[in-house]
Symmetry: C2
Subunit: 424 residues, 2 copies
């Protein structure tokens, strides 16, 4: 290798951009294939995103839910991991372009995920951070914990009320998880820690523009989720879009202003920039419209998977942007590439929905398996076991299990650190 | 409470600035005293500093060695914790001043520790970070891991050599620990993770200006430490001060330049600004010269403890800036304050040196107990048990034990995350 260009490999080269659930499963699925796999990610870790809200609310440490990508693929001899930021794709020349490199591919898998969407108000991002990366999570954790610390030292009653008001915008799974976890933190984990404030008086508002929480679930479970959140002390405001957001707090669509020092955003996602790289057709959320086999129309060598793809399920509805769907797409694409190289046909991608789980609190959740709907403690137990089971890496499973067992029996939260962004 | 001033407490108020080993032990020592204790720290956590180098080298997570101060003191009814930054002390009015508050005291304990010293080259701090806070540790961790990542994607052989050269400046305990841990990381934990580089070829240079490593230890153990480091593959350069430091690396006193993308600073400490607040006499390292009972001359109600104090031991030499000394000073001051309130006399502070331990690697260390000197694996076992034993909190002990057991048997390092400073 020399110059700015990587010499084409003798074996077909599969380049995978993004090492989330989709990308990492595509890479692992190609383990025994006669190809060279190159995984590019701008971060060095794969993350178990379903538990990221626990990092944001001080229940888990980043290292408990994240693992270096190259560690996961260390024994996969045909895989190379590059930590780099993709800037463009040259479809004609079949080259992925980063700031310093041009990486040729024979097959390209784009699994770059999604970010939160501010619906044209990107200036709100600093005021109301969303939750997608480990950096987001530690930032949110610092904001939540700092609010309590500031309230403890404040001598102005109005400032205290503002500091002890937490607003979560968006009633999807992330919003529900965050609101529930903040309420539990305030009412249980830290309630004995302060002398000048009563943390259990903290107000947690969950504002959802639509008519119900968790719109992907049946209405009965949405109602159950609302009830379970309210039991935890969360104020659920349905049909309340946020129309203004600044340092003082938010203003809702009905003109009602809520003063808050900690606003969190969970109101929508925007797919990554893949559609721009590919100059491809996308929906409003930026998801690339793909063929039945997840390939780009007219470019059968390019696949788009996970939250970046708009895939229709058998019911005609888009496959949801959840971890199991991304995993299935990654595995499917690996199988398809291997079949193609062997000259065998593969049918279209079919999303298998094994059920839908959302957690609300320490013993509250909702679960929808189609044939059965569960809520409350039983749903929470299911959720816990499912998440532990799927958590990458044996070691993390043990440590997270111990942390949960500890937190469950003691109400403690282990990772309550306000860490500095820069060393000071 | 109202306005900017806290009304004086009815009971004597002890204000403790800093919640390191000294401050937290002073606070805990006053548990059953008839006083109000206020602990002020600009961070929300107490940290087990002797293991901080493990966070910097990806062995442990921050939450495994740090715990919220208010959590430690949650059941101590007479203690209040304030997260705030002290700006000054008014000795005459007996008031501690922060940006927003004025906090009166009857007894003041200053335990604000030390920072690394750049000997007049503060502009080197960004180039060569030191290791004192959790933020420092995650920054150093990101720099070390990013160097390997960049080397893996680089196609310029000279750049690779530079990226795979790590320089640790300073041969005290922190420098020895860092150099040993980086060498082990490169040669063991990550050696199978890369495809384009051989991480075991990484060059780790430990540059010490003085004639030997670990100057606080007997010469035989300094020599042993050097040998053990060299066995791990560390290049130890004694009598080599660093005279220049920039983006390209360092220049040593003999004019020899070493290209490096990752320079770490462990070359000296400077006490906190306490001497300035108090307008007190200090030594060159900024340590306040205190009386035999750790109080400030002419101000018996002010105590300075830990790394901020210059205390003479029975042998006439200054008590070293180590955790056991800070703990003993904290406990002593608590006892003294209680005795004073009871009208009883207390003798001068006596530092009890139970031994000196420094770790070098996964099974290498040196230990000096005066009557016996140990090195190698036995010293390392002692070091491990001592540190596990003293680690704050039962929970952390279990988790750290498991992590060590795992790392020891598998050579794995659990916390290899390059986390973002800001969410992106």
């Amino acid at each position: 290798m020399s110059g700015g260009r990587v010499a084409p490999a003798r074996r077909p080269r599969v380049v995978i951009i993004g090492a989330g659930f989709g990308g990492i499963n595509a890479a692992i699925g190609l383990k025994n294939a006669d190809v060279d796999v190159t995984v590019i990610d701008r971060r060095n870790y794969h993350m178990f995103q379903p538990l990221l809200y626990q990092v944001a609310t001080a229940g888990l440490s980043p290292a408990q839910i994240a693992m270096p990508i190259r560690h996961i693929l260390r024994s996969q001899k045909n895989a190379t991991v590059l930590m780099d930021k993709v800037e463009d794709v040259d479809k004609e020349a079949r080259i992925v372009i980063t700031a310093t490199r041009r990486i040729p591919y024979n097959h390209l898998v784009i699994a770059t995920g999604a970010r939160h969407a501010y619906f044209g108000r990107d200036d709100w991002e600093d005021l109301a951070p969303g939750l997608k990366t480990v950096g987001d999570a530690t930032e949110i954790r610092a904001r939540i914990l700092t609010a309590f610390e500031k309230a403890e030292v404040s001598e102005d009653p109005a400032a205290r009320v503002r500091l002890l008001t937490f607003i979560v915008v968006g009633g999807g799974p992330t919003g529900v998880e965050l609101a529930g976890a903040i309420a539990e933190l305030a009412r249980q984990a830290i309630v004995r820690d302060f002398r000048h404030i009563d943390s259990s008086t903290a107000r947690v508002v969950l504002a959802e523009a639509g008519p119900r929480l968790l719109p992907a679930f049946p209405e009965s479970l949405s109602a159950s989720a609302k009830k379970q959140l309210e039991k935890l002390g969360v104020e659920v405001r349905l049909g309340h879009a946020v129309t203004q957001c600044d340092e003082n707090g938010v203003v809702l669509a009905d003109g009602h202003a809520i003063a808050s020092g900690c606003v969190l955003w969970a109101a929508g996602v925007q797919a990554s920039r893949a559609a721009k790289w590919l100059k491809a057709e996308a929906d409003r959320a930026g998801r690339v419209i793909v063929c039945e086999d997840l390939s780009l129309p007219d470019n059968p060598e390019i696949f788009i998977i996970g939250d970046t793809a708009l895939v229709k399920g058998e019911d005609g509805k888009p496959v949801p942007g959840v971890a199991p769907a991304a995993k299935q797409m990654g595995k499917y694409v690996a199988r398809l590439i291997k079949a193609r190289l062997a000259g065998k046909p593969v049918g279209p991608f079919r999303y298998a929905n094994y059920g839908n789980l959302a957690t609300i609190g320490r013993k509250a959740a909702v679960a929808d398996f189609g044939w059965i709907r569960l809520s409350g403690f039983i749903a929470w137990l299911l959720w816990s076991f499912a998440h532990l089971w799927f958590l990458v890496g044996f070691r993390n499973r043990i440590v997270v299990f111990l942390d949960w067992a500890w937190a469950y029996t003691t109400f403690d939260r282990g990772a309550r650190l306000i860490t500095e962004r820069r060393s000071t």
